[in-house]
Structure formats: structure tokens, C-alpha cells
């Protein structure tokens, strides 16, 4: 049997073609492997590391702020924040939808935050603080779908005193791109101080954020941690504030618009700094909804403004003791200098009315302060002239910022001829001098300026530097005013309260002897025969009162400004009285007491069980204090 082998050469040729082609392509694949694994391997290895490693910024807990007795003004409480790792986001629309659905924010707001986060795509961004448990659970449950999301424990600010310290403490805000570029230790979405103490003491309170590097799997689960650089918490900040007085001020000012400043006249330590209306600091403890922000900004009462430092008010009659001191120092008047008040006086051909229609009759300098006689000061203004009035005002610090360093502080306005020519383009008009003589007209002051000015009046003539942190006291500047002048003005201010005709004699019943001065600043021109109660609110006069206590060796100066309060004696003075009564009065409040127990302060809420007898005066002596006392 013969076997005839088939002629397979054609098939074999085709097999060779296919074989050669296959081997050639496989050779290309070898080259491909070489390229990926040898030539580019470091690049791919980096990408593999980026895949599995997550750098989680650990926010540093911000420092606590305590008041003069160690009571907590500002603290932290635990919260959960939501981090977004933008590079790992697979479907932005879906993620935004998800976050809106679980109520992180409105859809467009979530979108805005995500857009912002994408700009710094190599670092995670904080999308939300203060997540609810339901949101934490929702994100955890969908971790595999939304690998880019991470819930992280963090802290949030808590203010036990609430809105009473809102302006003082200030707000936190997301770090700006400029700040971010300037400081590599900050990370996108981090909260930094934007106003108040939070801003002025960012360096102290802020701390240093840390880092946690973790290994995650494809579903975002943390498998292990590689390195841990713990955050350094911010330093605590002890302030000169007296939270008990701050609360008393907030209570007394409830429903009013205005400001309260109280400070220790001996060294300028600020005890109370209140601005009304306030905002709820809770709103700023995390990320603010734009709608809420808009509402706050467009509120005609401007709750975000710190009126104690930023609002400008005509001082009204509260400026009279300053002029009186200036006149005595310059020898333009003596305490017994008399003026005769008929209720109206004509100067430069214009009639100027005293606030008392019938007139005060014969008044000397003491009486003029006690009864706040306008006529006395009209004559004084005429005799002194605007330049001298301005010099006196400036001596007491009016017209320039006090340098408390808390917010954009207004410098006020002490007008003179130069100012008039510069700003109004016309020379000073002498008639206006008479108005400025009773604190009306273009003269403008801030509440803190008034407090500093009165502190100088009652501390023996030292212009103190108002401060909230003891170490930041720049020290006082002696004004070189003669002691007898200050004593005379002080006597006048004591008569304001204790005198038979004193404008604030209703405060005579306070448990502590105080001095002070009322002031009413006109908003619109006075109309004869119309009671202030009958005017619409926005046309009523601002009511001012500056008080101090105890007389002899004052340890507290209180400035109260009630916008459109109408009646200084009836509205502003009682508020100051309430604060002074709280500071020096015998009625002991458990809050104040427990706050005085330094060892317990800041560690537990005040409790009735801690009630102890009053251990002494509630206004503590400043370190090295008393040197400024008369």
C-alpha cells in the first residue's frame, strides 16, 4: 500500500504567514511590556501609590478662649466632617445628586463646593462640617459607590455664651486661595478666623493641622494606616473679658440696638464688648449657607457689624466732661465759673436752646455736668473755638482708633477747619462749633473710644490701651492733666447720679456709688413739643450713658449706646446700672460664683451645688494694677 502524501505546500505557506504575523505582534507586546514595566515603571508606580494612599488632613482643634476667671468663652465640640477626594470622583453629577439627596446642602450649593474642590484636585476638600448621624450613616453605606467621599471626625466651635459673645469671638471662614498659597500648612476648606478674636489670634488659636496617610482599597475602605502626623492643637487664650458681665450686658440690652463696652480704667482691660443685634454664632461654626449669609449681610440692622468698635455715634452730652477737663487744664474755666442759663442763648446771631426749656439759671462747672446744661457748654465752645475743642477731644483719644486690634476699628471724627476744607471744601462755620460743644454736629465717636476717654478722666489722666489679652497691653500714656481738674470733673460726674438734679439720679439706688454722664445724640432735628416716644423708631435720638464705679477708685467704666433709645437716663443709664450692679452688687449669682472658682473654671458647667459665699470683689485686680490709679 503506497501512501501519497498530499501536497500541503500552499497550506504550509499560509501557516508560515500567520505564524510570522503572530510572533511579530507578540514581539510588539513584549515591547509594550518593556515600555510600561521598565521605561515608565516609576510613573505607574506613583499612580499605584496614589491609588492606594490617601492623605487625610487632620484639623487641629482650635484653642479655647476663657474669660478673666477661666470660664469658657469659646470651646470645641466633636463633629463629623465630609471630605471629598476630587481625583477619585468617577461621576460628578451622581455624587452631587447623592450629597444633595442626603441633605448636605442644596444641589447648586453642593455643586459650587465640588467645583471649588476640583480646583485643588490633588488634596481633599472639606465639603461639610457638622454632619448629622443620618448623613454619616448614608455616606458610610455608599462608600463603595462614592469612593471619593470620606467622613472624618473633627471639631466644631461651641460658644456656651451664645450670641452674647458673637462679635467678640468672631467667625471662622474657609481659608482663601491667597492664604492657601501663602501658607503650605493650610489645606483647602480649612476653617480659619475671619473676624473677632478668631482672626486677631489665629496664630495662637489655630494650631497646626496634621496628616494621616492611610491605605485604602478600591472601595474606599481604610485597610491600614501608614503614617500619622498628629495635629498640634491651638493654644488656649485667656482674655480679660468678664463673661458674667458680658451676659448681664446682653440681658440688659435684649431687644435694643447698640453697643456696650466696659473696661478697667486702670489698665484698659476690656471686660465687656457687646454689639446688638448679634447673630447666632452657630451659623458660623461650620460652612455657611450662602442664603443665610446674604440674609445677614442685607439685614438693615447689620448684625455682623461690631458696633462697639465700628459704629460711629455723635457723643452728645457725654463729651461735656472731656471739654470740662480740657477747659480746666487750659485755665479757660475754673470749677466755680458761672454761666446763666435761660433755656436759650443767641450766639453768632443764631439761637441755641438748652435741653431744659425753662433754663437752669445760674450753673457752675459742677452743676453744668450734673444737669448737663447746654448753655454752659455753648459759651465754653464759643470761648474755646473749634481748634481747642478738637485738641481736647483728641487728648482723650477721640478721632483715632484705640488699637484694640480686634476688628476693622473706626477712627471716629474730630472736626476742625482743616477737616472742613479738605472734606467739605469750605471753611469751618463758627456756628457749628457751638453744636460740637455739646457733642452734636460732625463729631463722631465709637463706644470703645468713649470708654477709653472716660477711663482717662477717672484714672488720674492716663490714656490706657484697651486690650482683651493681658500680654497685649501696650501700656497707658499719661496725658499730663492737672489732678485738680480731673477731681473737679469727677465730682460733677458723681453729682450726675447722686445730685439732686442729676440727670441719672435714678441710679443713686444702686448698691455701689457710681459716677457717670448721660448723653443724647440727635438723629434728626429736635421738634418742639414732640415726646420721643411719639417719634418713629428710626428718628429717635441715640441714648448714651457712660458710668464708672466705685467712685474714688474706679475699677470699671461702662459705655452704653442704645441706638434710637430716645432717652439716655431712662434707657441707657439703667443698662449701665444693671452691669455695674452685677459687678459690684451684693446679690450673688451662682454663675458668677462658680466662675470665680478658678480651679473649676472651664471644666464643668456652673452648678448650684458649687454655691459658695462671695469671696470678694468680682472685678479682679489687673496684674501690676493700681499704678494708674489717682
Amino acid at each position: 500500500m503506497t501512501f501519497v502524501r498530499e501536497d500541503l505546500r500552499a497550506v504550509q505557506r499560509r501557516i508560515v504567514v500567520v505564524l510570522a504575523t503572530a510572533l511579530f505582534v507578540i514581539l510588539l507586546l513584549f515591547a509594550r511590556l518593556w515600555l510600561l514595566q521598565v521605561v515608565q515603571s516609576s510613573q505607574w508606580r506613583q499612580m499605584a501609590e496614589n491609588n492606594r494612599l490617601r492623605r487625610i488632613p487632620l484639623e487641629a482643634p482650635r484653642g479655647t478662649v476663657t474669660d478673666v476667671r477661666g470660664e469658657i468663652v469659646l470651646d470645641n465640640r466633636p463633629a463629623y466632617q465630609l471630605l471629598l477626594f476630587p481625583e477619585e470622583m468617577s461621576d460628578e453629577g451622581r455624587t452631587v445628586e447623592f450629597l444633595a439627596r442626603i441633605g448636605i446642602a442644596e444641589r447648586h450649593e453642593v455643586q459650587a463646593r465640588v467645583d471649588k474642590a476640583r480646583k485643588t484636585s490633588h488634596l481633599p476638600s472639606v465639603l461639610a462640617d457638622n454632619m448629622t448621624w443620618a448623613q454619616v450613616a448614608a455616606v458610610a453605606a455608599h462608600r463603595a459607590e462614592y469612593r471619593e467621599l470620606e467622613v472624618h471626625p473633627a471639631t466644631r466651635r461651641s460658644l456656651p455664651a451664645g450670641p452674647a459673645v458673637a462679635h467678640l469671638v468672631g467667625q471662622l471662614g474657609e481659608v482663601s486661595p491667597e492664604q492657601l498659597a501663602a501658607n503650605p500648612r493650610l489645606h483647602p476648606g480649612q476653617l480659619v478666623g475671619r473676624s473677632g478674636l478668631e482672626k486677631s489670634h489665629q496664630a495662637t488659636l489655630g494650631g497646626t493641622p496634621g496628616n494621616l496617610v492611610v491605605v485604602v482599597d478600591a472601595f474606599g475602605r481604610q485597610v491600614s494606616s501608614l503614617s500619622d502626623e498628629p495635629p498640634v492643637p491651638g493654644h488656649p487664650l485667656q482674655t480679660t473679658l468678664d463673661l458674667a458681665l458680658q451676659r448681664a450686658a446682653a440681658e440688659a440690652m435684649a431687644g435694643q440696638v447698640g453697643a456696650v463696652v466696659a473696661l478697667d480704667p486702670r489698665d484698659g482691660a476690656v471686660r465687656v464688648l457687646l454689639s446688638q443685634p448679634a447673630f447666632d454664632p452657630e451659623l458660623f461654626a461650620g460652612r455657611l449657607e450662602p442664603a443665610t449669609w446674604k440674609q445677614l449681610v442685607s439685614d438693615p440692622l447689620k448684625p455682623l457689624n461690631n458696633r462697639a468698635l465700628q459704629a460711629l455715634y455723635p457723643p452728645g452730652s457725654t463729651i461735656k466732661p472731656l471739654y470740662a477737663a480740657g477747659a480746666l487744664a487750659d485755665g479757660l474755666r475754673v470749677p466755680s465759673s458761672q454761666a446763666y442759663c435761660t433755656g436759650a442763648v443767641t450766639i453768632y446771631g443764631h439761637p441755641y436752646r438748652c435741653w431744659l426749656r425753662g433754663g437752669h439759671g445760674h450753673v457752675d462747672l459742677y452743676d453744668a455736668i450734673e444737669v448737663s446744661c447746654d448753655t454752659f457748654f455753648y459759651y465754653l465752645a464759643r470761648d474755646a473755638g473749634i481748634e481747642r475743642l478738637g485738641a481736647w477731644a483728641r487728648t482723650f483719644g477721640l478721632g483715632s482708633a484705640t488699637g484694640i486690634g480686634l476688628a476693622a476699628e473706626a477712627s471716629g471724627l474730630v472736626p476742625d477747619d482743616a477737616w472742613s476744607r479738605r472734606v467739605r471744601g469750605q471753611p469751618w462755620y463758627g456756628g457749628e462749633t457751638i453744636s460740637v460743644g455739646i457733642g452734636q454736629g460732625p463729631i463722631l465717636t465709637t463706644p470703645i473710644q468713649l470708654a477709653v476717654a472716660f477711663a482717662a478722666l477717672v484714672n488720674g489722666g492716663t490714656l490706657v490701651h484697651p486690650h482683651l489679652v493681658p500680654s497685649e497691653n501696650r501700656g497707658g500714656r499719661p496725658l499730663g492733666l492737672p489732678a485738680d481738674a480731673l477731681v473737679a470733673v469727677g465730682r460733677g460726674m458723681e453729682h450726675v447720679v447722686s445730685g439732686e438734679h442729676g440727670t441719672a439720679r435714678r441710679l443713686a439706688s444702686l448698691p455701689v456709688a457710681i459716677g457717670g454722664k448721660t448723653g443724647t445724640a440727635q438723629v434728626v432735628r429736635k421738634v418742639e413739643g414732640v415726646r420721643w416716644q411719639d417719634l418713629p423708631w428710626e428718628q429717635r435720638h441715640h441714648a448714651l450713658f457712660v458710668g464708672y464705679a466705685p467712685i474714688g477708685a474706679p475699677r470699671l467704666v461702662v459705655v452704653v449706646v442704645v441706638e434710637h433709645g430716645g432717652d439716655a437716663a431712662g434707657v441707657a443709664a439703667p443698662i449701665a446700672g444693671a452691669i455695674l450692679a452685677r459687678a459690684f452688687g451684693p446679690d450673688v449669682d451662682s454663675t458668677v460664683l462658680s466662675a470665680q472658682d478658678g480651679s473649676r473654671a472651664g471644666h464643668s458647667p456652673p452648678s448650684d451645688l458649687t454655691r459658695t459665699p462671695d469671696p470678694g470683689p468680682r472685678i479682679p485686680d489687673p496684674p501690676g494694677g493700681g499704678d494708674a490709679a489717682p
Binding site: F3, R5, E6, D7, L8, A10, V11, Q12, R14, I15, V16, V18, L19, A22, L23, V25, I26, L29, F30, R32, L33, W34, L36, Q37, V38, Q40, S41, Q43, W44, R45, M47, A48, E49, N51, R52, E88, M89, S90, D91, V215, V216, D217, A218, F219, V223
Partner: protein, 358 residues
């Protein structure tokens, strides 16, 4: 031992060893301890089946190929009707506790059938009717598989037909007509058959920036795995891309990426070399075949394996779109391993009988 091709066997053993090691890694990553063990069992069974087939006479099997073919088409029809819906397809039949993927076996039957058919007339040129019959023989099971729908496996029928047409000797004009027909078919598939996600895969491959995290995600992760493996790899079971499950379908379609990440260029190169050797030897068997049927069987098997290896590795290294074509013997799956082993068994049979004077 001149009766068995030791080079081919050596290549299979190397690939099998790599498959086992790579699957131990995926077992660990996917916390599904069975992969490595079961793959090893399949490889063992496949090896046995391969040797059994090596010692059969492929010519006898080719004579009965219409029978196998019809049986396989019957099973595919049955699968379409009776198989439970699993992961959106009716591709698996349950036999006891095991599941079988008939499409893999039907492909071996199709290879045998077209080899027998194309060599029937002992001519160097395919006549038009024979070419049409070849297309029909491959097309029928392919369509049945596509209907399951399992596009990945259905696509692996294409090289079976191409191999038969090429080796059988299709005239150049016919190739032109075929190309036109394929273009038409592709257009029609794009319009009516492909699902959006499949289109997205192709578009994304053409333009990776299209969806860096969507359809491009798998390929990106795969390239990261391969590239980060470097020269020597991260060590078996230590690949971050596989262990942290960034790699998709790592025990099946992307098993090569697992191996490349953990064994590095040295390991991946060795594996690719083993495949090259396997493909080379299979074609060499075709060159030594005593008859046209044997040459067509070996040539077709070589062609099919080569296409699968090339397409899969190209996909894993980012040179081809994600198609669902697995890597023979490496990718997890009993049916796939056994079917490949059977095809190689036929090739060994052709080798064994290359001089036999029967």
C-alpha cells in the same frame, strides 16, 4: 517520546504554573479561596484530557465532526432556552454543583468541523459554496452564543472562521468582499446590537480622556497594575492593584495584569514567551501535519490561541478595547481551560500521527 511535542507541553506547564500562582493572589484579594485550587484542578483535568485526545486519531474525530458539531449546536440551543439567567446572560448550564459554559466546547467542535469541511476537497483554493458553508458552520453557534448574550465568547468564533478561510485558501477577491461584509456587519452591530456600555468601551478606547473614571477605569487600573510591577514585580500576593481590588475582573479578563504586577517584566515576559512558544509549536505542528485536515486543525487552534493571547494582552496593556476575551489557561474558568486543553489535545494528536502510515 517523539510522539508528544515536549516543547508544547513545556509551554503548557509553564503557563499552568503561572496561572496557579496568579490565582492564589486573586483568591487572597477576592477573599474567595477556591480560585487557585479549582484552577489547578481544571488544569490537571485539562492536562489529562489533552493527553487522552493526543492519543486518539484526529482523523477519526474529524470524520465524526458533524456529529459533535450538531450535538454542540443542540446544547447551545438548549442553553439559550433552559440556562438560568446569570449576570445578565444565559451562558452557563448547571450539572450538579458545577456550571458548564457550552460555548467554549462548541468552539472546539466548530474548529474540528471547519477543518474537516475545508479539507474535504483536497484543493488549495476554497470554492465559493464551501466558503459559504464554512461561514454558516461557524456563524450558527456564534450567533447562538451572541444571543445568550455573551459577546466576548461569540467574538472568539471569528478567528475560527478566519483561520479556516485563510488556511483553506480563500481567493483574494473574496477577502475583499469579506472585508466589505465585515464593515457592513460592524456598522449594523453598532446601530442595532451593541449595548451603550459596549459602545462606550470602544469610544473610550479610541479616546481615553472621554471618561477617565467610567469606561476607561478598568483599562487605567490595568495599565497601572502592569506598569507599577516594574522589572521584578511586587511579589506574589503583594500587588496593591490586585490586593486592594483596583483591578477589575482580575481572576478572569485581567489575570495577566495581576501576574504582570506581581511578577514584573521578568514574570510577564516569561509568560508571554511561553505563549509565544505554545503558538509557535502549534503552527509548527501544522507545518508537519500529514494531511490537510491536520494542518487546518493545528493552524486554526494556533490562530485562535494567538488571537486570544494577543487581544487579551493588548487589552490589559491598553492597546485594545475591553472586549471580554480571556487569556487561555490563565483566566479562571473550568470550561475555558478544558476546551483549550481539548483543542491542544487535537494538535498533539496531529503531531503524534505526522508520520504514521495509515
Amino acid at each position: 517520546m517523539r510522539r508528544l511535542d515536549l516543547w508544547l507541553l513545556a509551554a503548557v506547564v509553564v503557563i499552568g504554573a503561572c496561572a496557579y500562582l496568579a490565582q492564589t493572589s486573586t483568591s487572597q484579594a477576592l477573599a474567595s479561596s477556591g480560585f487557585a485550587t479549582r484552577q489547578l484542578v481544571w488544569l490537571g483535568l485539562g492536562g489529562a484530557l489533552m493527553l487522552v485526545l493526543a492519543f486518539t486519531d484526529y482523523r477519526v474525530l474529524a470524520r465524526f465532526s458533524p456529529l459533535f458539531y450538531l450535538a454542540s449546536v443542540g446544547v447551545l440551543l438548549f442553553t439559550l432556552v433552559a440556562a438560568p439567567l446569570r449576570a445578565g446572560t444565559r451562558a452557563w448550564l448547571a450539572i450538579g454543583t458545577y456550571t458548564v459554559q457550552p460555548s467554549e466546547f462548541a468552539r472546539v467542535a466548530a474548529i474540528l468541523a471547519v477543518a474537516a469541511l475545508a479539507s474535504e476537497h483536497r484543493q488549495d483554493r476554497l470554492s465559493f459554496p464551501v466558503a459559504v458553508r464554512l461561514a454558516a458552520v461557524v456563524g450558527l453557534p456564534a450567533v447562538l452564543v451572541a444571543l445568550q448574550p455573551d459577546l466576548g465568547v461569540a467574538l472568539t468564533y471569528v478567528p475560527v472562521l478566519l483561520a479556516a478561510l485563510w488556511l483553506g485558501g480563500l481567493p483574494w477577491r473574496a477577502w475583499g468582499a469579506l472585508a466589505a461584509g465585515a464593515a457592513l456587519l460592524a456598522g449594523a452591530a453598532w446601530l442595532w446590537y451593541l449595548k451603550p456600555y459596549q459602545k462606550e468601551r470602544i469610544l473610550t478606547f479610541a479616546d481615553p480622556s472621554r471618561a477617565p473614571y467610567g469606561a476607561g477605569y478598568q483599562q487605567r487600573q490595568s495599565k497601572i497594575a502592569v506598569g507599577s510591577g516594574g522589572l521584578v514585580g511586587k511579589g506574589i500576593g503583594s500587588g496593591t492593584q490586585s490586593q486592594l481590588r483596583f483591578l477589575p475582573a482580575q481572576h478572569t479578563d485581567f489575570i495577566f495584569a495581576v501576574w504582570a504586577e506581581e511578577a514584573g517584566f521578568i514574570g510577564a515576559g516569561a509568560l508571554l514567551a511561553a505563549y509565544a512558544l505554545l503558538i509557535f509549536r502549534t503552527f509548527v505542528v501544522g507545518l508537519h501535519a500529514r494531511d490537510r485536515t491536520g494542518a487546518l486543525i493545528a493552524g486554526s487552534v494556533g490562530f485562535v490561541v494567538a488571537v486570544e493571547v494577543i487581544v487579551n494582552v493588548a487589552m490589559v496593556t491598553g492597546w485594545a478595547p475591553t472586549t471580554g476575551i480571556t487569556l487561555p489557561l490563565m483566566s479562571y474558568g473550568g470550561s475555558s481551560v478544558l476546551a483549550t486543553a481539548m483543542a491542544l489535545g487535537l494538535v498533539l494528536s496531529v503531531w503524534r500521527l505526522r508520520y504514521a502510515n495509515v
